[in-house]
């Protein structure tokens, strides 16, 4: 029963190798979908390209439903899966600035690795920027350390917050994602009537 590492069913060194394998899949998928190109990623913020929300929310609902059913079937203990605490103000302010960084750089920390690996010089610049930003964070951290944990709700999930059963929340998230995809498809047809269903390479 999963998670294998937490339950001691595999050795820690094996998880490192599996991390490499997960990374290969991750990078392969990002590049294949076109997310190693800053124009495709930033395109969502100019309402020109919707690859980011399509890939991201399809992945979320797939994993969401998968985790839920694996838990129901006794294959995966959902209580042992790791996620971070919710820090309201750092997440809102940090998230907004992160989004600004995303449209400015054209990437996020994962996709910029895929960009650099396929020869994008702007991807290497973003990697350099991330290290500079991380170093700045560390060097200034003692100044705002006291405020970082403001609005700490702890490890809380949507079902716990709302008191609604997980099954209903999951059904709601899936329905909202499918509704959003439907709206995106209609908007894309209006914007570009002659485009075919298959995504076209712009470059």
């Amino acid at each position: 029963m999963g998670p294998l590492l937490v339950n001691g069913l595999i050795q820690p060194w094996m998880s490192v190798i599996l991390g490499f394998i997960s990374g290969i899949f991750f990078g392969w998928i990002l590049e294949s979908a076109g997310l190693a190109d800053a124009r495709k990623i930033s395109g969502v913020f100019y309402l020109k390209d919707f690859t980011v929300p399509k890939v991201m929310f399809t992945a979320i609902i797939t994993a969401l439903v998968g985790v839920y059913y694996m838990n129901v079937l006794g294959l995966l203990d959902i209580g042992k899966l790791e996620f971070s605490a919710t820090l309201i103000w750092p997440f809102i302010i940090g998230g907004i600035v992160f989004g600004m960084g995303m449209v400015t750089s054209g990437y996020c920390p994962g996709t910029t690795l895929a960009a650099a690996a396929t020869g994008k010089i702007d991807g290497f610049m973003v990697i350099a920027g991330i290290f500079v930003g991380a170093a700045l964070h560390v060097l200034t951290r003692p100044l705002f350390e006291a405020y970082v944990y403001s609005g700490n709700l702890g490890f809380i999930t949507l079902p716990e917050l709302t008191g609604i059963a997980p099954g209903f929340i999951i059904a709601g998230v899936v329905a909202m994602a499918l509704g959003a995809f439907w709206a995106i498809e209609i908007a894309e047809k209006r914007m570009n009537p002659e485009a075919k269903d298959a995504p076209q390479d712009e470059s």
């Binding site: 990374g23 991750f26 990078g27 940090g94 054209g106 920027g129 700045l136 999930t157 949507l158 995809f181």
Partner: protein, 177 residues
């Protein structure tokens, strides 16, 4: 070599969901990227200044914050994200080779100069690096992985990211035009 078209986004999203599910099943945590940058930085700084986190001085406090990212449940756990990052680069390179898309280039708009674009890339990267520790993860570790577990914070983070992206888009549009 002729560049091939990208794969269908919904299909790629489905495969990414399966990859995330596999990662949860094996390790108990999701995919991540920004944590790897911090751990690599921590390893390098720790290698150069192993005793920096000794006292209550300003830099000492900063160093002890950085070195905390090396602790984790086990030394392997700390390495995990770095190996995953190397995997991401490997996988993207293979996919790029197959698709004929590996080449040296600076992605930019038709009228934008490479210099403009690279300055925006550096500046945006600094914002990403600074904030992803504030939000306890980036779009992968906090957004994708947390949202799949219905974490309240992950959804707050994702909504804020989209809000911030739309707010700044107009101001940085020149590089893409």
């Amino acid at each position: 070599m002729q560049e091939k078209a990208y794969k269908h986004p919904y299909l790629m999203g489905f495969f990414l969901g399966l990859t995330l599910l596999f990662t949860f099943y094996v390790t108990g945590h999701g995919l991540g990227a920004s944590g790897g940058f911090y751990r690599l930085l921590a390893m390098v700084v720790h290698g150069v200044f192993p005793d920096a986190a000794g006292d209550a001085g300003y830099l000492s406090r900063a160093a002890s914050f950085l070195y905390r990212s090396l602790e984790g449940p086990s030394p392997n756990h700390s390495l995990w994200l770095i190996y995953e990052g190397i995997g991401v680069m490997t996988g993207a390179f293979i996919s790029g080779l197959i698709g004929g898309r590996v080449k040296w280039q600076t992605i930019r708009g038709e009228t934008a100069t490479p210099k403009t674009r690279l300055l925006f890339a550096l500046g945006g990267g600094i914002l990403l690096g600074f904030t992803s520790k504030l939000t306890l993860g980036c779009t992968s570790g906090q957004g994708l992985s947390g949202a799949s577990l219905l974490s309240v914070g992950a959804w707050i983070f994702l909504l804020s990211v989209f809000a911030g992206g739309f707010m700044a888009a107009w101001f940085v549009r020149k590089q893409y035009q």
